[in-house]
């Protein structure tokens, strides 16, 4: 499928490419295919590619002298893009302990949505979530695909400290805090898996286009996985989509 794209010059080094405003898994797939095709031709001159819900921001190493020529060049890549250049996408299984000890907002959500704690966990682990992109914090995945029944407004005042690994719901989104930080999302559990580990060659295992599935584990299993993660022997479960 080919979309109508907008190309905008953005500062001295960058070009922003925009798809129609939407949150759509086929758009994110198209962005990733286009990005892979651009990288194939431009990897040496590119500094960064930043993906948004419906955008791709391309940052060059050097100032762009002839932006219009560059845009024509990119348009040509899009016209002739090949799907197979794109790399594999994975489904990652993420163990989560939904015990109220970690899911400190579970009871509040349960009361206000009139869903039992078990129903919330069932709904949260049933759906598979698409990684749209990574932003906000290193390793923070913007995930789409939350069940409508679990839509729940952010807290009016953010907490100053949300623990690392907190699995949370904010509006129509769900996500995992990769490090301790301030945050206004409602916490429903915690995962011992590291979403950002600077000691790893690939600090963040996931990338745009991948999928995430949460699985409910007991506190006992949580603690043993935590040990494995700490000692570096934990192997994440993943499947090629």
């Amino acid at each position: 499928m080919t979309y109508e794209l907008k190309y905008k010059s953005y500062g001295e080094f960058s070009i922003l490419i925009e798809w129609e405003a939407s949150i759509d898994t086929s758009v994110i797939r198209d962005i990733n295919v286009f990005k892979a095709n651009i990288l194939k031709k431009e990897a040496k001159v590119l500094q960064d590619c930043i993906i948004g819900y419906h955008s791709l921001l391309i940052v060059y190493k050097n100032k762009l002298e002839e932006v219009h020529k560059k845009i024509s060049f990119l348009k040509d890549i899009y016209m002739h893009k090949k799907k197979e250049i794109s790399t594999y996408d994975y489904i990652w299984k993420i163990p989560v302990c939904y015990d109220v000890k970690y899911g400190i907002d579970l009871l509040d959500i349960s009361q206000k949505t009139k869903l039992s704690k078990e129903e919330i966990i069932q709904l949260h682990t049933h759906n598979t979530y698409t990684v749209y992109f990574i932003g906000f914090l290193p390793g923070f995945l913007y995930l789409g695909g939350l069940h409508k029944k679990l839509f729940f407004d952010r807290k009016p005042t953010p907490r100053l400290k949300v623990p690392k690994g907190a699995v949370a719901i904010g509006g129509m989104q769900t996500g995992v805090y990769p490090q301790e930080s301030a945050g206004g999302w409602n916490i429903i559990g915690n995962t011992p898996v590291s979403f950002f580990d600077i000691t790893k060659e690939t600090p963040c295992f996931a990338s745009s286009g991948d999928q995430i599935q949460f699985t409910s584990v007991t506190e006992e299993a949580y603690l043993s996985i935590e040990e494995e993660v700490k000692s570096g022997v934990y192997k994440m479960e993943k499947f090629i989509i």
């Binding site: 953005y10 500062g11 922003l16 932006v67 906000f136 950002f196």
Partner: protein
Amino acid sequence: MIKVLSSGIYTAIQDLGRTGYREIGVPVAGVMDRYAANFANLIVNNKEEDAVIEIVYGSSKLEFLENTTICVSGANFSAKMDGKSIAINTVLSVKKGSVLSFGKRVFGVRTYIAVKGGVLSDVILGSRSFLKGITKKIALKKGDAITINDGLKQIGETKSKVKFNKEYLFSNTIEVFKGPEYEWLSKEQKEKLEQASFTISPSNSRMGYILNEKIENNFASMFSSGVLPGTVQLTPSGKLIVLMRDCQVTGGYPRVLQLTEKSINVLAQKTTKDTIAFKLKQGV
């Protein structure tokens, strides 16, 4: 080695920052004022990418535990060596045991110290720049020892004849290009943005500067998209945020303007209550 006797408001090691990791959410970071840092490195014959010491508001004190050559550049806080005034923006030979300190503010906010060979810190994702969430150390503290890279100490000449162009330190003009959502603005909003003078609020840091004056708007929120150091976002409250070197990689507020590289350096040398005016550049 250089011993930190006092670290003041904020003293850190910075280089040109981390690139290539924004797709996993890692900010670029790096020196706030690239012109001054590059100049200091050039003067002591370092490479542009060698790490320097960045000092906010001239409030730190450093003792050199070995003979070396340095250059102090950027903000002028009456630099002193062993209590005696020293020249900035030029080569300085430093004797073992000397103490560098600062006094009264003359101009600017961020001072850079380049040491011949460069200073060292852990290289994380290709950069020595301190950054919360990425490096273990996020600021230098009293008692820290900074290692000087003497493995590659070149005896090459220092470029003492290059002149530091300090005019930008006194400029209030911030040159900008139109941002991706510039066309969302009405004629009146555009006029205000280009003609009004904006004051820097106390919320200014390496992540971004919030400006006091408002541009009333009722823009719909947008789906998060990439942002850059130097991006000016217009928030629902009407306040503008100018993103700086440590900024997040994506944001959800309309990006109305984008600073030129030079203007990011200009703003990096400004602080609370300073005023600025945007000047729209055509093209790109």
